[in-house]
Symmetry: D2
Subunit: 245 residues, 4 copies
């Protein structure tokens, strides 16, 4: 391990996958947690023991995300960036002709502009970490959270599907461009409902066997991050054993 | 055939596929040709005999596209809309870290916002045409032009691939939502360079066997438009016989 | 058109798609119809006017298929082969652990060995036709019938899905190998139940809007066959307008 | 852990992935190694310390594979089967018209019949293990080795691609049928050349960065095997970081 504890940046931290990702990467790295409001991120940071910072960030806003990365670099100058995870999405499900342009473009904001901005800030740091061999034992990684809608566009899901297909295209393009330069870019298809307080509330009485475990999702990201450079995965799908598709 | 000659609206009319689409659909329908500048569209309109209008339109701008559809409806009130084709794309190929946000989002403008706005204006007219059985012999159709990049995201192609994947997602979502309501939504993957003056200029001395014929592309759109309601195609790929992939 | 009327060979001729293919290609070409029993094929041949031959063939048997092509060449020496269509499948749906090896391999027989044998006999004739420009106006074509199961493998469908995926792989490999040599190889995904007497019997009272029209399927094959060499399609999907996937 | 050390059965054990799989699963389980000749399997068994058996098996032959499973059950009665891996393929690359039927069907033998027979023998044992909770900490797993050709069929690769697509279809069908019954079925796409003595011989002087590490491949199988039941992966792709696709 390097002298300076490496960093992991997680964008999109809330109850569910984000919290689990923070906990999983926080076991090894100092974490920078980005969320819309600092409250949620700080609570999660506290719950995982606290080595890191929580930064209120609107990942769809160039100024806000630049400020967030500025603050991270200020707090942790010289720390190598080991992993960056983009875990943000917005969901609008509506008959197509009732969608406003703003609603439709809220999808692009979280699935196109957001991952673009996040990647443009994270990749130079990941490249540096990869080049200097100070990032620790593993290949510097940039990982995106996808969904069933990343590979299937259903009726009334134009805003959600376009953002998810766009993000998957971005991930694939970056994997090809930055893989040979030493950064592992990967995409995770979370194929089903996740076991969060909100989902349990929505589907009262649901059998938890049918809900994807966020800690297990986070384990998959960690596995991707720790893969050998000579056997890297671009895409992983995750679903429960009871899922019949 | 109905008493009133139906309309076809083609967005993205220039030398190449757009011109061929105008000619092909213009054989049967009155055409409304949308292009950024009215000059190109008017020239094409004249070259195909002239039944229709050319409307200078920025399809990525809500105001401009609303004005274009307003003008079309004003000119051709009560004409059923038989077909609407969205044939607009913007190409930026650059190392990812050199892309500006504006360059990146120019992709979304033509591949996300544009097809959204175009579809929101065209679908109510296509639904009406389908419902009233005045659209002529064929299923009212909404067709999108895709590319190799619609299914494959290469290095340095983030702006192009994200727009193309987003548009394909939109097409698939709309196909499922509007198929059962009587509108045929389809997506065409143009898998290779098209035989246009610009491409011939770029690849001087290229064997034309390796360039996709725009008239043949237009024939495929016409075939999609005239399919039987009980055997509709969502997606077609087109490439030259010499293509080895 | 050449002096000698070209041939089309259709393997898998029965009520439904096969009969419609025979009728569609029989409008222009002399047809050779292959079916397991000569009765069905002869009846269909008679119903479409009769220019051609019906040959009882087991397409999964090398000896039988060689004999069939021998008889065709004997009857129509020097006629160019314009199109060859492979439209054979076998359906077994069973819990996996109840499948016998024979049942499982019956899938391979119709979806692997059959199309292999058929292609090995048809391709040299199609290549010759393409080279001599005697095949008529169109690119010599080899077309395979696929199904929903060609792209999706459901539970209890191992025998059906493996044959359909194998056949699709064969079609894609042949498209790449023989496209540059002047033969158009294509694959059609028939995505839903076809309107045949047997299906109507099975789904009594079904709305015919939900059944794919076999004549319209045949039109799609004809369209593929008549495509311009500079805009060839490898794969087309077909489903009814009411299908929601 | 249960009182009886669980078993892992690996079919297709030779230098490369098979040997690494044997070593990886052998760290935790007693292994049964299947190979065409007992020599290779015994050597690998010895090299990993020796807890297990090597069984000369022709996985494409129903009698041979039944005998192999019979011997395994005899040797290890009552041991739960924790994992079964099918890692067999045959490669023929030839112009299509030069392929004999036997050569073509050798693909089916290893990619269709073989995995069918292996799965029919392994699944009842995996189901039993899953039901009795004696299989150890992890979900009983059935994993198949795929290749680039599992998702892409190139020219002159009909025999290889059909077997690989068929096997992938089988894996997907089984995943859906047996996932809800407690068995994790997964498919691994090994997307590139593997670092084996034979490949190093073939590509003399190749940079090893471009060769997939078989131990890292085996790690991916182990990871699949140890996934949480509430976040199971059907498919994983593996390639080196230098791969540009």
């Amino acid at each position: 391990m390097p002298l300076l504890k490496p960093l992991a940046i997680i964008a999109g931290v809330g109850p569910g996958t984000g919290a689990s990702l923070a906990a999983r990467f926080g076991r090894t790295y100092t974490v920078a947690l980005l969320a819309r409001t600092s409250g949620a991120a700080e609570q999660i940071l506290a719950s995982i023991g606290g080595d890191g910072i929580a930064v209120a960030t609107d990942v769809t806003d160039p100024v806000s995300i630049a400020a967030a990365f500025g603050r991270i670099r200020e707090a942790y100058a010289d720390r190598p960036l080991a992993a960056a995870v983009y875990n943000v999405a917005s969901r609008v499900k509506k008959p197509f002709l009732e969608l406003s342009l703003d609603e439709f473009e809220s999808g692009w904001a979280t699935g196109g502009r957001g991952p673009f901005l996040f990647s443009q800030h994270a990749l130079p740091l990941l490249l540096t970490a990869g080049a200097s061999d100070t990032a620790g034992a593993y290949t510097p990684s940039l990982i995106f959270t996808g969904a069933t809608a990343s590979v299937k566009a259903n009726a009334e899901s134009a805003a959600f599907a376009t953002q998810k297909w766009a993000q998957r295209a971005l991930a694939q393009s970056l994997a090809k461009e930055f893989g040979p330069r030493g950064v592992h870019v990967a995409h995770v298809i979370v194929d089903g409902p996740i076991d969060t307080p909100r989902i349990r509330e929505m589907f009262k009485g649901v059998d938890e066997k049918g809900l994807i475990d966020p800690d297990a999702i986070a384990d998959a990201y960690w596995w991707l991050h720790t893969q050998d450079k000579r056997a890297l995965t671009w895409e992983v799908d995750l679903r429960t054993g009871v899922e019949k598709w």
